[in-house]
């Protein structure tokens, strides 16, 4: 069988398992599974931003909250039709990301991290102080996903939506990664001066990546909004941004498989570690990070050896 066939089969098998799970899990495990899917979607986007394009940004959860709050406020607080609220929420994410990206992506490394941290705080304060519109620190609840074109998406079918969210994210990022644009992103990450000499408009590439991945984060945020039908500022906290970074580093920075593995392992780890290590599982993560950086810079994905080092995964 040719590479294309294997590739298509891999996708089919993955989708089959992921969708099948939606129908066999009980309610507790469904909740765990859905949140895991959100983490995987978030990790995929952040991996592209951080691992592929080399931008150390801490705004990923801020954009997820823009998406989540955007859709809930527009559809349930302001009463817009869901489809419109959905599209508007995504547009708002993209526009916000664009406005943040223009100054922020001019900054390198540490300064980009600081600027995106500041933006995250700004979003957080806005939500906290948003009164009845955002629900303040208590967040928003008592809303439900309205029927969409007459279809009431409930139970396992909502989980299927989240599987599609992950698939859509992975599909887009894989395409972009394998293209001239993905190469440009990696080139800018590895050597901006040389990338520019090759004709890459560095500022443009950085802004595009930031907007694309932040919008995908917003989409994941929308998906999250209907998992518990509760959103509050704590979910989008900085702690989660750091966890996301750990997922990428442990999974294997710059590779989609790595991002997915890291997200699954680190999301599920507390469930396994909590009975043993109690609340100290973050400490275990910390040790894992140090070990990963020291001994396996290519992370869990490096253990798989699916592709050559240096080749786009």
């Amino acid at each position: 069988m040719n590479g294309r066939g294997v590739h298509a089969l891999g996708w089919l098998a993955g989708m089959g398992v992921a969708i099948g799970l939606a129908f066999v899990l009980g309610s507790y495990h469904t909740d765990v599974y859905r949140k895991m899917l959100i983490w995987v979607a978030m990790a995929l986007g952040f991996n592209f931003l951080f691992g592929v394009a080399g931008q150390i940004a801490f705004s990923h959860f801020a954009f997820a909250s823009v998406g989540a709050y955007g859709v809930v406020i527009l559809s349930h607080q302001l009463g817009l039709p869901f489809g419109l609220a959905f599209v508007l929420a995504i547009v708002i994410c993209g526009l916000t990301a664009f406005i943040v990206a223009i100054p922020a992506t001019r900054l390198e490394g540490f300064y980009l991290a600081l600027a995106t941290l500041a933006f995250s705080q700004l979003v957080r304060v806005t939500i906290d102080e948003g009164g009845a519109l955002t629900g303040g620190t208590g967040g928003l609840a008592n809303y439900r996903l309205p029927p969409f074109f007459g279809v009431d998406v409930r139970g396992p079918w909502y989980t299927v939506c989240l599987v599609l969210l992950v698939a859509f994210t992975l599909w887009i990022l894989t395409r972009v990664d394998a293209s001239w644009f993905g190469r440009a992103c990696r080139a800018v990450r590895d050597n901006p001066r040389a990338a520019e000499a090759m004709g890459v408009d560095i500022a443009r590439a950085r802004i595009l990546v930031f907007v694309m991945t932040s919008t995908l984060a917003g989409l994941a945020g929308i998906g999250y909004a209907y998992v518990d039908n509760v959103i509050n500022p704590a979910v989008f906290s900085l702690e989660n941004s750091f966890l996301l970074l750990f997922m990428i580093i442990i999974g294997g920075s710059g590779r989609h498989v790595g991002a997915m593995l890291g997200a699954v392992v680190l999301y599920l780890a507390p469930f396994a570690l909590e009975p043993v290590a109690g609340n100290h599982y973050m400490l275990v993560f910390g040790v894992l990070i140090v070990l990963a950086i020291l001994f396996r810079p290519d992370g869990l994905a490096g253990l798989l050896r699916i592709t050559r080092p240096g080749k786009a995964a």
């Binding site: 887009i172 972009v176 080139a187 050597n191 000499a197 090759m198 004709g199 080749k311």
Partner: protein, 260 residues
């Protein structure tokens, strides 16, 4: 007679009180190998940076293919077909050798991110054309045995060839080489000289910057000699080596002229 591909007029770059490049004129024609030489501190690197677009002139113009590019950013100049190599190899360390070369093709892809996501047919064609070209250049530079190697394990000479391949993959009209022979072994220098001659034979204009006259002069069709930012000679290599002003410039600086 048609205008030369690259026309530099009155190029001047001051650093405070120091005039690094002074009122310099350079013409470079298609398929021509032009050497820009001169002792250390003569202003070669500054000239190179001004033409490549990583530095801005204090005054003067740079016209490429009839277009004034003096104010264009470096990436725009590359996109117009004026590419370069770096004196100190600058590979993309996290990418495969082929991908390193393919980055050089960046400007030849048309359309935006939406076309990429939708998988436009034109993009697939551009991608396969790019890969064919990259394979051809891997062959041309003799890097074939190293395609699967991690680029950080390339020797200095192989890294230099990668630089050359990366600068050629976009089918540029002119290529700027910054001391390409520096740090290479004798055999590598000979191979590089053949490659540069082949590049020019394809109709690509080559601007070669070096202080090693012995590498550059046998290869060049024409040479410009700089001293303290000023042009002191411009002509065929045969005339240059006998020019008293050039001999004087290099006198007492023979070490500078000899070491690579």
């Amino acid at each position: 007679m048609s205008a030369p591909l690259l026309q530099v007029r009155g190029l001047t770059r001051r650093f405070g009180g120091l005039v690094a490049v002074s009122d310099l004129d350079v013409d470079l024609g298609r398929g021509e190998i032009l050497a820009l030489i001169g002792p250390n501190g003569a202003g070669k690197t500054t000239t190179f940076n001004l033409i490549a677009g990583v530095d801005r002139p204090t005054s003067g113009t740079i016209v490429f293919d009839g277009r004034d590019i003096s104010r264009q950013p470096a990436h725009a100049r590359a996109a117009l077909g004026l590419t370069r190599t770096f004196q100190h190899n600058m590979p993309f360390a996290g990418m495969s050798l082929t991908d390193n070369i393919l980055v050089g093709r960046h400007a030849r892809f048309t359309g935006g991110l939406v076309d990429v996501i939708l998988g436009a047919r034109r993009l697939r064609e551009q991608e396969s054309a790019a890969r064919r070209k990259a394979d051809e250049l891997i062959e041309f530079t003799g890097l074939g045995a190293r395609v699967d190697a991690d680029v950080s394990t390339l020797s200095f000479g192989e890294g230099r060839l990668l630089e050359v391949a990366r600068a050629l993959v976009s089918d540029p009209r002119a290529i700027l080489l910054d001391e390409p022979a520096a740090g290479l072994t004798g055999a590598e220098v000979a191979r590089l000289a053949r490659i540069i001659a082949d590049i020019a034979a394809r109709g690509i204009a080559v601007l070669l910057i070096d202080h090693d006259m012995r590498f550059v002069l046998p290869l060049a069709h024409r040479a410009i000699v700089l001293k303290f930012g000023e042009k002191i000679a411009d002509g065929p290599p045969r005339d240059i080596v006998n020019d008293p002003a050039v001999i004087a410039a290099y006198l007492g600086n023979s070490a500078g002229a000899a070491h690579a």
